[in-house]
Amino acid sequence: MKHNHPLAKEGRERERESRGKIPIHMMEVCNCIEPQWPADELLMKYQYISDFFIAVAYFSIPLELIYFVKKSAVFPYRWVLVQFGAFIVLCGATHLINLWTFTTHSRTVALVMTTAKVLTAVVSCATALMLVHIIPDLLSVKTRELFLKNKAAELDREMGLIRTQEETGRHVRMLTHEIRSTLDRHTILKTTLVELGRTLALEECALWMPTRTGLELQLSYTLRQQHPVNYTVPIQLPVINQVFGTSRAVKISPNSPVARLRPVSGKYLLGEVVAVRVPLLHLSNFQINDWPELSTKRYALMVLMLPSDSARQWHVHELELVEVVADQVAVALSHAAILEESMRARDLLMEQNVALDLARREAETAIRARNDFLAVMNHEMRTPMHAIIALSSLLQETELTPEQRLMVETVLKSSSLLATLMNDVLDLSRLEDGSLQLELGTFNLHTLFREVLNLIKPIAVVKKLPITLNLAPDLPEFVVGDEKRLMQIILNIVGNAVKFSKQGSISVTALVTKSDNRAPPDFFVVPTGSHFYLRVKVKDLGAGINPQDIPKLFTKFAQTQSLATRSSGGSGLGLAISKRFVNLMEGNIWIESDGVGKGCTAIFDVKLGISNESKQSGIPKVPVNPQPGNFAGLKVLVMDENGVSRMVTKGLLVHLGCEVTTVSSNEECLRVVSHEHKVVFMDVCMPGVENYQIALRIHEKFTKRHQRPLLVALTGNTDKSTKEKCMSFGLDGVLLKPVSLDNMRNVLSDLLEHRVLYEAM
């Protein structure tokens, strides 16, 4: 406020009064030295101007305020603003009105001035009171703002960290990818060092591997420099133990032996060094379903050096990166090791395969060689054998002295034994490699048993052992099976019974077995449709067998050691062969005995087929009346050089009702043969191939198959080669001379029915 000096005022009043009529006595002498200068007017002018500007300022401030607040729209304290505005406006108004008070002014002006001042006072007091509340709030806003700024800075920092970690993660992934992309151990390690060096911008990176002895660490790989060969450090250094003791990356001193890789020159300030352990997983550590024991693991040491003379420090995320990489390397190395191992195993297996293949081929060659040898030896041995037997038997029938007879009988017996032995050996060897096949045929089972008994009877009678035969009533008469081998089995068993009995009787029982109440537990008998199981029991009351020896009985060449058995001879092959035959016939054979001296029972089961026909091929019976075959008028041609044979064959065929023409040579045969002849019997006994040519010529002569007569060879031997030869020359059948009547009848009917015949042997 303008200082209105009261005396000045009075002065002014005086002036006015002097202009008007104001009593002088009201004028006081003031103490102020106030010359009545014309400068008064200057001062007044200045005050006037200042007041004016103040007013203008005072008026413009609220306008500005309003303008900016309107613009901002955030300001929360409008009411305060209004107040403040009012306050300022009023102050401005006051100063403005002051302008009028410099000159004489009327009472209205004074009134307005007073009103303004009063209002101003009220408002300003109110504002002052308001501000007490507002200012702390405003201050706290400021505080909050600061806090938020700090927070923002912190978040920025954290984001920076996350980004760094993300970078690190990316590096790790890339490193891992690089490391795991190869399965070669060296590449893995080298790649690790290279990538780590690149990612972390390392000065040097080195890998120390444990030596074979496990007592030292050898410098195996470095990143940048050539390392001296065999640079090792002992494994028991404290720094190494420290690193191996934890799975984390450990900062170590740059001066430790593992970190001193290049010659130290004092000028360098060595960068920080970090070391981490890399577990080396040994395959031997792996158990199935079991994790490897950590305590027995070996470790390699990876040492990483930051560039020297830089202020870089190892950051936490970098250390983490190193740890992760170390683990990855361990995994990659173990994979590589496993792969190596499996490749080695595979190579080994392949080698073994090759060796096995070779061994198999050698074995096959050996078997073939043996078979060839056996076949040759068989033939070579049998021929003289037959000669010996034949001549001995002939000799037997001549006039001999008793001594000579005895000698001849011994020769005969020995050679028979030898022949049997040879046969047995051949059979057994064929049985062993499974090349023996049963020769199935239809035969009379009852007759077979009777024959066996007839063969054994002489010996049994001599030893005074009665033999009885019991055939079950439901035993089929005609069966299908291998007659010869079955006879061999029965003969062997019954023979054994006779051999090993000194007294008592022998009973042979044959029955059809349905239930397996006495069979060994692992053998189940199931009679199928056209098959049945024949059980034969041979019981004797002779020497008996020690139950302990029973398993040995069926092994070849093994014999019980008792003198009694040894003296009765035998090579020990019989039972073994019988067992093999029984097995071939899908059966089982076993022996039961109550002990030494109590006799024993031999039992075997074999599978036989039931024959539908009552055909008999084997021992022919002499028919009461000759039966005419249905071959009446069948035109046949017989070609035989031998007159007697020719005549016999002709008689045979004539008896069957055929119309027979005979020729005695190939040429005559060719001349005579015509489409009227249905069958041509040709004798092919003479050695050589010429006989068979006739067959080819006949084939040529009759091109149409239905016109051609059937060609049958009559021969004295029926081995495989003859059969094959006949087949290859286009013959339809082979007959063994001499042919029986029944045989011929069957053969003819078979032939005419099927137009081919290769079974009538």
Binding site: A387, V648, P738
Partner: protein, 156 residues
């Protein structure tokens, strides 16, 4: 009369059986006998005579071949033996056949001494058989003349 026939028949039967048992004849002979029926009453006799003729001829030939030790034609001997073997097995002359087997073996090894021995044996055997069969046929004729029938003989 029946008695005579029966006796003769029994004689015949026993004789034939003995021939089998002594090994002169085998199965094949009985087969031959089967072929003899009313249509061919002399079949067996014919065959057998032919056989004996054959034997005689072959033996002569072979004897000649084996005569001189220097040049023995073993091929011819072999073929002769072959023939003889075939014939003998066709008629069921067991002993003859057996000798032929040994004979063949001697021939294979070109054993002249052996061959000669076998030849002699063959000769002996066939003559022996011839005699026996002659007796048999005589018996047959006697039976037939006496009005009986030839009995079937079961050799099993």
């Amino acid at each position: 009369m029946n008695n005579v026939v029966a006796q003769l028949q029994r004689q015949f039967h026993d004789y034939l059986v003995s021939l089998y048992q002594q090994g002169f004849l085998d199965n094949q002979f009985s087969e031959l006998r089967k072929l003899q029926d009313d249509g061919t009453p002399d079949f067996v006799a014919e065959v057998v005579s032919l056989f004996f003729e054959d034997c005689s001829k072959l033996i002569n030939t072979m004897s000649r071949s084996l005569e001189r030790p220097e040049n023995v034609d073993f091929k011819q001997v072999d073929s002769g033996v072959h023939q003889l073997k075939g014939s003998s097995s066709s008629v069921g002359a067991r002993r003859v056949k057996n000798v032929c087997i040994s004979f063949k073996e001697c021939c294979d090894v070109q054993n002249r001494e052996g061959c000669i021995r076998c030849l002699q044996q063959v000769d002996y055997e066939y003559k022996m058989l011839k005699t026996k069969l002659q007796d048999l046929f005589n018996l047959e004729q006697q039976i037939l003349q006496a009005g009986g029938t030839i009995p079937q003989v079961d050799i099993n």
